[in-house]
Symmetry: C2
Subunit: 102 residues, 2 copies
């Protein structure tokens, strides 16, 4: 992928979108949104993927700032990062407000 000059804001948004724009990771985000409690290894049960694969997807989401993980004894507990979702929602709102006249 060729580098394109990006503002910091653009880079942040694109990084978040890349993280979410994957079937398994989008599903993880939806699961975290739907469950009353922060899930952890339950994600592995919900997805038809190996444990290591799920762990890597979770890492991608965490690195992008979409989710947050806290260690709870032997497990890790994940939950959504509200600010990230709010950021993305606002981003699309701004794009939508300027629109084509054709």
């Amino acid at each position: 992928m060729k580098a394109i000059l990006q503002t910091e804001s653009e880079a942040k948004t694109v990084a978040m979108l890349r993280a979410i724009a994957h079937p398994a990771r989008f599903r993880i985000v939806k699961l975290l949104a739907a469950r009353a409690s922060c899930v952890c290894g339950d994600l592995v049960l919900e997805l038809p993927l190996a444990q290591s694969t799920v762990s890597e997807h979770v890492k991608v989401l965490k690195d992008a700032g979409i989710i947050r993980g806290t260690i709870a004894g032997p497990n890790t507990c994940y939950c959504l990062e509200p600010a990230a979702l709010a950021w993305l929602q606002r981003e699309f709102g701004e794009l939508r407000s300027a629109c084509c006249r054709g």
Copy 2:
């Protein structure tokens, strides 16, 4: 990429996100949002990419339903698809409304 059972709505959202989640394509969307007029080959001038590459990025966005292209004589004129941006904004709004309690 392993197939994950998706609802039609999920698939649509993920496809749109995949399309936008790329530096060049996100830039294209922002350019279309910023310009007063629908641009066309101007995109090639704005991006440090070959014409064929830009054309392919545009095709990805079009296939995902993010932008719309209309032929205007020898050129093609692109503009944003408002419904797509609204859809994505709403999607993030829904995710945000359900959130972690940690």
